[in-house]
């Protein structure tokens, strides 16, 4: 389900982050959403249409417009570059909102941890929490104030709940200090780089936070060694697809024009799951449980690979 929108405002938040305000083309209200939701934006790249995913950082209390913040990256598929070159009036097709990083409704307190562009899901969350007088803390790491998206806004509106950490000033988030002595019912939300996320989870588990109280939004896949290519044999269509060492199975299937669904493209949502009939799988996702991974009968095409030279998939 798609919505046709246009860009009505563009603001530079930092040298590399712009926020875009989108309204429905005919002035109608956009679809409602819950805090933490994201949308897919269709981006034309050459002859193809890619879908990039951006969190809604406007408040869910109104749907006259959506705000999305986009970080310009060099190693993207071209989506951020397209948007950064866009002007006011540019028309876009976007999906209905979807939420895979929502607030826990039974939590008594929320601790939100952000690194860089990871701040985006928290804007709508803190608007909601603040309106409903629900306690929260926001711990936000960035290189400096000038590279900290929404710094002025957060300092002004949420000064008592936000703590900033600027690496240029050698200020770093301490998982221990953030997590210890928190009251019962505290949930933590992590939208931070992999290594800091790992430290937080390790510390939270050692304190005794249950798994259900730790929420993560995957913001960048794990760096993996992708040196080996492999062949995917498609059992239904009888095709053989070579997956080069610097490509994913999803990309190889798309290049071969084999229809396959996808969403996050970083192993977090399960949309690109394929059944595996034979061959050992190297799971690189953050979606399956350890039990599911040992079953070796399905994989996420966007990130996982064959352990050996060949694999047979049910496509």
């Amino acid at each position: 389900m798609m919505q046709a929108v246009k860009i009505i405002k563009i603001k530079n938040l930092t040298p590399k982050i712009k926020v875009f305000r989108l309204t429905e083309i005919d002035g109608k209200k956009l679809k409602a959403f819950s805090p933490g939701s994201h949308i897919a934006v269709e981006i034309p790249v050459g002859q193809k249409i890619h879908r990039n995913f951006y969190t809604l950082c406007s408040s869910q209390q109104q749907t006259e417009f959506y705000d999305i913040a986009v970080l310009l990256t060099n190693n993207s598929r071209g989506g951020s570059q397209y948007l950064h070159r866009s002007k006011i009036g540019t028309k876009l097709n976007i999906s209905y909102p979807k939420n895979s990083f929502s607030l826990a409704s039974f939590a008594q307190k929320h601790i939100l941890v952000a690194g860089g562009i990871g701040i985006t899901p928290y804007l709508s969350m803190i608007a909601y929490l603040s309106k409903n007088n629900i306690p929260f803390e926001l711990h936000y790491a960035a290189k400096s104030a000038s590279e900290c998206a929404f710094y002025d806004f957060l300092k002004c509106e949420y000064s008592s709940q936000v703590k900033f950490y600027f690496s240029e000033l050698e200020e770093y988030i301490s998982p221990e200090k953030v997590l210890e002595k928190q009251p019962l019912g505290t949930h933590i939300y992590l939208c931070i780089p992999h290594s800091l996320r790992k430290d937080f989870i390790t510390r939270a588990k050692s304190i005794g936070y249950p798994k259900s109280a730790i929420h993560q939004e995957i913001f960048g896949a794990k760096k993996v060694n992708q040196k080996r290519s492999f062949i995917a044999n498609l059992s239904k269509s009888k095709q053989k697809i070579t997956v080069a060492k610097d490509r994913t199975l999803l990309e190889a299937l798309e290049a071969a024009k084999i229809p396959i669904d996808y969403s996050c493209r970083i192993g977090g949502c399960g949309a690109c799951e394929v059944k595996v009939i034979a061959g050992d799988i190297e799971h690189l996702d953050s979606y399956y449980s350890s039990v599911e991974k040992t079953q070796q009968n399905k994989m996420l095409a966007c990130i996982s690979r064959a352990k050996n030279q060949q694999i047979i998939i049910d496509l």
Binding site: K109, E180, Q182, L184, G208, P210, A213
Partner: protein, 176 residues
């Protein structure tokens, strides 16, 4: 929904860093057995036992409380100052466990932080669907409501909120 399954064994959830245990009478034995099996008392374990006298004569830090009201008051005191990492356990009859379960939940504890161990359910609490009163200590499947006198049949449907089974009129369809 159905009520909690009967316990087969009690175990500490050692992923927690603090343990608040409430036991009813002899059920405290189960906790002591588990501690013996472990060979140590998990750090920061606090055991409250509902009993008018000492049940186990072992060197364990067990606080005995003679009434349910006092036990609940002590429990709330403990929970109010507890931090994340705490695990809660209630071990005893179905009525006892049901009386305690809502307190940690109200403070935000999730199901993976709470262990409910029902050791017997001979006596049931039954909600009368006619007069809406709750009958306690019911031991038969069919009985007369203590309040309105209607003959009730106990169904398997259990309300966590009311901590009671549903009792419906047993002879509603009999021809008068």
């Amino acid at each position: 929904m159905n009520s909690i399954s009967l316990l087969t064994k009690f175990e500490f959830d050692l992923s927690g860093s603090r343990h608040i245990v409430c036991a009813e009478g002899d059920a405290v034995d189960l906790i002591c057995n588990q501690i013996e099996k472990l060979g140590y008392v998990p750090e920061n374990t606090n055991i409250l036992c509902l009993s008018e006298s000492i049940v186990v004569d072992k060197k364990l830090n067990i606080k005995y409380v003679s009434t349910l009201e006092n036990l609940i008051a002590k429990l709330i005191e403990n929970l109010s100052s507890a931090y994340m990492g705490t695990r809660f356990y209630a071990v005893g009859s179905e009525q006892f466990v049901g009386d305690l379960r809502n307190h940690p939940i109200r403070l935000g504890m999730g199901s993976d932080e709470i262990t409910l161990a029902v050791v017997e359910r001979k006596k049931k609490r039954v909600f009368c669907s006619t007069c809406h009163e709750i009958n306690t200590q019911v031991t038969t499947k069919i009985f007369n409501c203590f309040y309105c006198g209607i003959k009730l049949e106990i169904w398997s449907h259990f309300s966590c909120l009311k901590n009671a089974y549903l009792g419906v009129c047993a002879d509603a369809e009999e021809v008068l």
